[in-house]
Structures are given as structure tokens and as C-alpha cells.
């Protein structure tokens, strides 16, 4: 709040006058261009809470679709006290800052070993996070100068994973589970974390599980340090690893 002590608890969108509620939106309806389509757009806008709504532009996209730009005032009010912000426990860092933080913390490269475990052959997730090609416009962890990435690929057995993680002196192990049957993704991940605990105890690497069917609140149940779900980007994972490694250093 930039010195504005009068920020109201209840707010509406701002067009050019306080409280006018003005928004603009655009969408396409599968209706041929014409008065009927325009009427449908107005009806939809009304249901979206835009009242009164104005279709300021429409044009045909082919014979079956119409595109609309709609302006209007929304009747909704937002109570700022109802806003819930899910706090990320770590700050999002750009690649440059991840690199310099890792360099300062470890004075060597941070080693990340990644794999799809069990029978899952879908490396889509782990590759999106690790490969330089990346995901959602963000480069994968390979792009980070201070990270050394070992991607073991698909169908890696848990004993192999533990062995490789030890051999590579991994700071973090990322496992991905994309296509699973019943609760295989949960069982596989629990097997993995148990194996690391047994083999390495407190000196085990950070364990991170990821996949569309995981719930981020399941970390304790799975025995891992962090769970990432659908839509996670490489930058989030890199930022988390930096944060977690620094926490570990502090704890030692």
C-alpha cells in the first residue's frame, strides 16, 4: 500500500472512475455471426455479472463462430478480507540468482538426479523440468550453469536410483510419476523415500516428487521433502532447491 491508508476493504474494478466496475473481455461463441450471436454474447456477459454489457465489436470466424469484445460494469464486489494467499515457502528466483546463490552456498555445482520410477514410461514431466527445452516458456534445470543435471529417464528401478544418486553425490533427487494405475504413484514414491532413508539416513539427498496426480500436501505421507503438482515450472523447482539447500546448510 503506497501510503494510501484509505484502501477500502471492498473493491470493484476501476475503469476511469472509482467504483465504476468497468471490465473488458473477449470470447468466441460457436454461433454464426449476426444479431442472434450478439444477443447470445450479451446474455453470457450478463451471467458473468457484467451489467450493463456492451458488445463493442464482433466478427465472424469462419461460418460457424463469432468473436466478441465486450465492455461493461461488473456488479460484483471483492472483500479483500476474504482473499486467501497461499504462501510459497520459498522466493521465486530468476536463473541468474539461482546460480549465484548455489555458488555462494556450495562453492560447487548442485547435483540433481532425475528419473521416472516404476513402470511409468512417460518422461514428459521430468523432461519438462530438466531438459533445456523446458516448459511454459521457462528453460529446464539443465540451463542453470550451477546445476549439474543427471536425467536417468524412464522406468528406473528404486535400487538403481539410489545407487546412481550416491555415485553422483546427488544433492537432490527428482522423481516423476505421470501415468499410473490405482495408487501406484504413491506406493512407488513411498518405496523410493524408504530406500533412501534406509541406505543413507540423514545424509540422504533432498527428495522431490512431481506429477499431475500428486497433491502438494502429501509430502509427509510420501516421505519426501516436497511435492510438486500439475503446472509446476522449472523455475519453481530451481528456486525451491536453492531454498531447501540453504535451509539444510543452516540446520547443520
Amino acid at each position: 500500500m503506497t501510503g494510501d491508508t484509505t484502501t477500502a476493504r471492498h473493491v470493484r474494478p476501476y475503469g476511469d472512475t472509482k467504483g465504476d466496475g468497468m471490465v473488458q473481455t473477449s470470447f468466441t461463441l460457436p454461433v454464426p455471426h449476426g444479431p442472434r450471436a450478439e444477443g447470445a454474447a450479451l446474455l453470457l456477459a450478463g451471467k458473468m455479472g457484467i451489467d450493463p454489457a456492451m458488445v463493442v465489436h464482433s466478427h465472424a470466424i469462419g461460418p460457424d463462430f463469432t468473436f466478441f469484445v465486450v465492455y461493461g460494469s461488473v456488479r460484483h464486489v471483492v472483500d479483500l478480507d476474504e482473499v486467501e494467499v497461499i504462501e510459497r515457502e520459498y522466493p521465486l528466483l530468476p536463473p541468474g540468482e539461482v546460480n549465484s546463490a548455489v555458488k555462494k552456498l556450495l562453492r560447487r555445482k548442485l547435483v540433481v538426479v532425475g528419473a521416472c520410477i516404476g513402470t511409468d514410461a512417460h518422461t514428459v514431466g521430468i523432461d519438462a523440468i530438466l531438459n533445456i527445452k523446458g516448459f511454459a516458456g521457462e528453460k529446464g534445470l539443465e540451463y542453470y550453469r550451477e546445476l549439474r543435471v543427471v536425467n536417468l529417464g524412464a522406468q528406473v528401478t528404486v535400487p538403481d536410483l539410489v545407487k546412481r544418486a550416491r555415485a553422483e553425490k546427488a544433492d537432490a533427487v527428482l522423481v516423476s510419476q505421470v501415468v499410473t494405475q490405482r495408487d501406484a504413484h504413491i506406493l512407488n514414491t513411498q518405496e523410493m523415500s524408504a530406500a533412501f532413508r534406509e541406505a543413507m539416513g540423514q545424509r540422504r539427498p533432498l527428495l522431490v516428487a512431481g506429477g499431475p496426480r500428486f497433491d502438494p500436501r502429501m509430502a509427509a505421507e510420501l516421505g519426501v521433502d516436497r511435492v510438486f503438482s500439475r503446472g509446476t515450472t522449472p523455475g519453481e523447482v530451481a528456486s525451491y532447491l536453492t531454498h531447501a539447500i540453504s535451509q539444510r546448510k543452516e540446520a547443520v
Binding site: I61, F67, H122, T123, N131, I132, K133, G137, E142, N151
Partner: protein
């Protein structure tokens, strides 16, 4: 219309250095084969379909056969002699029957000698030549259809991407895109297909952020676009990806199903997918020979370097890669008019004079490769989700494209980095292109950068840096340069990466009639 006054001697030096840098790699490509080259050969010979009874779900017959030959007698002699010898010994009538018998464990492969070898080689050549004649017929058919329906009325050709994951939805989106003005439709592949060491089978409906490249999907899309071509009165070209671990096989499938353009870069898989460098160079050479035969325009992937490295600092790496791609392509038999060398509009728009620098880089590519159908790629790195600003940036990208005479323009989406494009995003993006082409399509005629201005100087500087880098690459060896992270900042040692175990040094008696027929240009 030389606007940059490039020194022909410097340009010739750049080409000579690229050829010298590429020569050792071409030697390696000639002296090795890969599992995918052998599978591609069997696809040309007529094997289709997959073993649907296998426990790991559908395994293509070509994989079953090549893996079995590798286990029984190795692949260093090529797959053709053992396969066609087994076909005769077991008295089977088709390769598919042989594949079924192979899966059932009834076939033992061995390298034939003497008359048996001669006979097997002859049978292989006959079968593969038949496949190549299909490729030849498709090429002739394309020429005929282009003549009948016509080429797009103006340049650049407008290239649009569809990527629904479901081939049936792709057909709907592609047809709409063509009706709205697209000249070329590219079907993006499912994420991760490049790392599959087999080509999936059949029509597919569940891709991840794209649709699997399969022979049946190719056929479905080609048939649909032929219908649309008739409707819109111009030949709609179709694009897919001959890249990843199955590059040679996908090139063959593209030739068999009359695709018109294929993404096919000499180094992309190495750098961005961590595929073994030798595997890539061997696969690339064979796939380019097939593309040359099929009259398919290749699209190279230099735009990708600029998404990982800085578009100003690394501009010369694009030029170096274009020169290498050109040399590898020429060596494989591709003429200039099939060389869709890539480059991109990726300079940070907050940098002062960014548009002038873009013009310099785009013009440099145009003048270095005057006869190549250059592919001009839109901004992605600096598309932030601010769709309004993105629309403006795409407008400038389009303007740079027409002003510098680019040949193929990949239509930029204002929703890049937000979502796969909505129907309306494509429509708005095409309106953007149309406006710029209508308003400024002829502006190139009036465009004369000042001889000592920023654009000309910058182009000379980039070419100079490219020559310096080529000197270093030649001195180090291309494979070492790749290992050291020269391109796109990626370090890829020659003995590592995916698919390395599928590379085989050829024995002296290596036999592959496909390679012979492609190099001879023969049809029998």
C-alpha cells in the same frame, strides 16, 4: 538487391570454413548406421503396422525385426541381407509375415554369403525401389496439385501451427486456419515423442500438447488438406517433424504420405533433447537424402538458440548454424530451394534499436542465402502474457518479415506462453499478418538502409563474428565445439546422450540398397 554490400570474399571464406568443419562429421555419418536408419529402410521396403500383442503395448514390426537381427547377427552389415535371406529361406510371401514369425521366435537371422547374399540384395533393392517410387509419385502428384490449385498469391507463405493432441480436432483447426489464410499447416508433435525410439501406430487422440506423428495421422491430415486446397483454391502445404530418435523413419513416412515440409535440423536434437551427436548426424544425413528425393522443404531450427542464448550476443551462432545446415543439406542432395533455414525475432524489445538489429540479422540471412526459402520465427522469449503488448510485438515481427523478404512466416500468437492458441487467437494473429502484408508488402522496394548506418554495420559485424567462430569450430572439430557448449550454451559430448547404443559402425560389406538408390537417384 544487395543492400548490405557483403564482401563476397568473406562470404566465400565462411562457406569454405563451414564445409571444412563439417567434413569429418560427414565422414562419420557415412561410415555408421543406426537402428532408425535400418528401420526406415524396412519401412521403405514395405513393412507397416505393429505387434499389438506385445506386453509393452504396440511395438512396430520394424522395431521387432531390427532388434532381432541385431541380437542374432548384428547390424554392422545392414538389416537388408539377413531379412531378405530369411524371407526366402522361410518361404514367406511378405515382410509382415516375416515380422509376425520373428515375433513368434520362429526366425533365425544370419548373414548370407555368396549367391544367397546376391539374391537377398537383389530382392531388397526391388522392394525398396518400389517404396521409393511411391515417394517419387507423391512428389509428382504434389507438382500436379500445385499447378492445379496454385501457390499462395504472395510471399511470405503463412505458416500456422495446430496442436490439439487429437488428430480429428487437428483436422478441424487446420481446415479453419487454411480458410482464414494459412498456406502451411504444421502439426506439433506430442511432448516427448522425440525421445521415443519407435514411431507410434495408427490414428491418435491423446497427445500431450501436440499430436503424435504417425503414418495414419499423416494420411488423415493430408487427405483433409487436399480437400481444403480444392476449396480455398491454393495448395495447402503440410508440415511435421523429422527430428528426435526416429528422424529417418519419420522422413520416410513423410515421403510416403506426401508431406511438404519437415523440421529437420542438424544439431537441434543434440542440443535441446540430449540425443547422442553421432546418432543425430547419421540419422540426419539419411533423412535429408529422403527429403531431397521427396521434394520436401526442410526447416532448420536456429531460432531455438536464441531462446536459450541472448539474441544479440549469440546472433553469429545462428549464422554459423545456418552455414553448417546448408552444407550438410547440400551434401545430402538438397538443393537451395528446399532449404528452409531458420532464424527468429527474439531480441529483447526493451533494448534500444532492437527493431533495427532484428532487420540487420534478418537481412543478413536473406543476403547470405538468396535462393533458400528462409523461415522467419516469431517472438516467444519476450512474450510475457501481456497479450496486448504481444500483439504489437508480432506486428513488428511481421513488418520485419516483409521488409527483409522472408519466405515462410510462422504466425506469432499473442497468447504465446499463456495457453495453446484459441480459435480467436489464430484469427487475430492472421488479421495482424494480413494488415502488415496489405499495408507494407511492397515496402521492401523503398527500403535502402544507409550504407554506413547501424543495420549495415551490424550485419557486417555478425558475419565477421560468424567467420571467427567457424575458424574456432574448424580448429577444435565440430564435435568438440558441441561438447564445449558453443551452440545454445549446451554441452553435449560425442559419446553421451540418448540413443548412443543405437549407433553401429558399418562393416566393409555393409549393404543398404536404400542408400544406394538415394545416392544414385535410381528407381529400380
Amino acid at each position: 538487391m544487395a543492400l548490405l554490400d557483403l564482401d563476397p570474399a568473406v562470404v566465400a571464406t565462411a562457406r569454405r570454413l563451414a564445409a571444412e568443419a563439417a567434413a569429418p562429421v560427414i565422414g562419420i555419418a557415412r561410415s555408421h548406421t543406426t537402428v532408425s536408419v535400418e528401420r526406415a529402410t524396412l519401412r521403405l521396403a514395405g513393412i507397416t503396422g505393429a505387434d499389438s500383442t506385445h506386453r509393452a503395448s504396440d511395438v512396430p514390426w520394424v522395431n521387432r525385426v531390427v532388434d532381432t537381427v541385431a541380437a542374432h547377427c548384428g547390424l554392422e552389415h545392414g538389416v537388408c541381407l539377413p531379412v531378405f535371406d530369411a524371407l526366402r529361406r522361410h518361404d514367406l510371401t511378405s515382410l509382415t509375415e516375416l515380422a509376425e514369425a520373428t515375433a513368434a521366435g520362429q526366425v533365425t537371422y544370419a548373414l548370407p554369403t555368396g549367391r544367397d547374399a546376391t539374391r537377398a540384395a537383389k530382392a531388397a533393392r526391388t522392394a525398396i525401389a518400389k517404396g521409393l517410387r511411391t515417394v517419387d509419385r507423391n512428389r509428382a502428384q504434389r507438382d500436379k496439385l500445385v499447378e492445379r490449385h496454385g501457390d499462395p498469391a504472395r510471399r511470405p507463405w503463412i505458416y500456422l501451427i495446430v496442436a490439439t493432441g487429437d488428430i480429428d480436432e487437428d483436422v478441424v483447426q487446420a481446415a479453419n486456419a487454411a480458410r482464414a489464410g494459412a498456406d502451411i499447416i504444421a502439426v506439433i508433435r506430442s511432448t516427448g515423442q522425440s525421445l521415443l525410439d519407435y514411431v507410434p501406430e495408427g490414428a491418435t487422440h491423446h497427445g500431450f500438447a501436440g499430436t503424435y506423428a504417425t503414418q495414419e495421422n499423416f494420411r488423415i491430415m493430408r487427405a483433409a488438406m487436399d480437400d481444403v486446397s480444392k476449396e480455398v483454391g491454393r495448395y495447402i502445404r503440410l508440415t511435421n517433424y523429422a527430428s528426435g530418435l526416429c528422424m529417418p523413419e519419420i522422413a520416410v513416412l513423410a515421403g510416403l504420405q506426401r508431406l511438404d515440409m519437415m523440421l529437420n535440423d542438424s544439431m537441434y536434437g543434440i542440443l535441446f533433447r540430449d540425443i547422442n551427436p553421432i546418432r543425430t548426424f547419421v540419422d540426419q544425413r539419411f533423412s535429408r537424402q529422403v527429403h531431397a528425393r521427396a521434394g520436401i522443404i526442410i526447416n532448420t531450427g536456429e531460432d531455438n538458440y536464441l531462446t536459450t542464448d541472448d539474441a544479440v550476443d549469440a546472433a553469429h551462432t545462428v549464422t554459423v548454424s545456418q552455414l553448417l545446415n546448408e552444407h550438410f543439406a547440400h551434401e545430402a542432395g538438397l538443393p537451395d530451394h528446399l532449404l528452409g533455414l531458420g532464424h527468429a525475432f527474439e531480441i529483447n524489445p526493451k533494448l534500444p534499436d532492437s527493431f533495427r538489429l532484428e532487420l540487420a540479422h534478418a537481412l543478413l540471412a536473406r543476403e547470405l542465402f538468396p535462393d533458400a526459402p528462409l523461415k522467419w520465427m516469431p517472438p516467444t522469449k519476450h512474450m510475457t502474457g501481456d497479450v496486448f503488448n504481444g500483439y504489437l510485438l508480432d506486428g513488428f515481427f511481421n513488418l520485419a518479415g516483409v521488409l527483409t523478404g522472408q519466405s515462410i512466416l510462422l504466425v506469432g500468437m499473442m497468447t504465446e506462453a499463456v495457453a495453446t492458441p484459441f480459435l480467436s487467437d489464430r484469427d487475430l494473429a492472421l488479421a495482424n499478418v494480413r494488415y502488415v502484408l496489405d499495408a507494407a508488402g511492397g515496402l521492401a522496394e523503398d527500403f535502402r538502409p544507409a550504407p554506413d548506418g547501424l543495420i549495415v554495420k551490424r550485419a557486417h559485424q555478425v558475419l565477421g563474428e560468424a567467420v571467427d567462430l567457424l575458424e574456432r569450430v574448424k580448429a577444435d572439430g565440430l564435435l568438440n565445439a558441441i561438447a564445449e557448449g558453443t551452440f545454445g550454451l549446451m554441452k553435449r559430448p560425442a559419446d553421451q546422450g540418448k540413443g548412443a547404443d543405437g549407433v553401429i559402425a558399418k562393416a566393409d560389406d555393409y549393404t543398404n540398397p536404400a542408400v544406394d538408390l538415394l545416392e544414385e537417384g535410381a528407381t529400380r
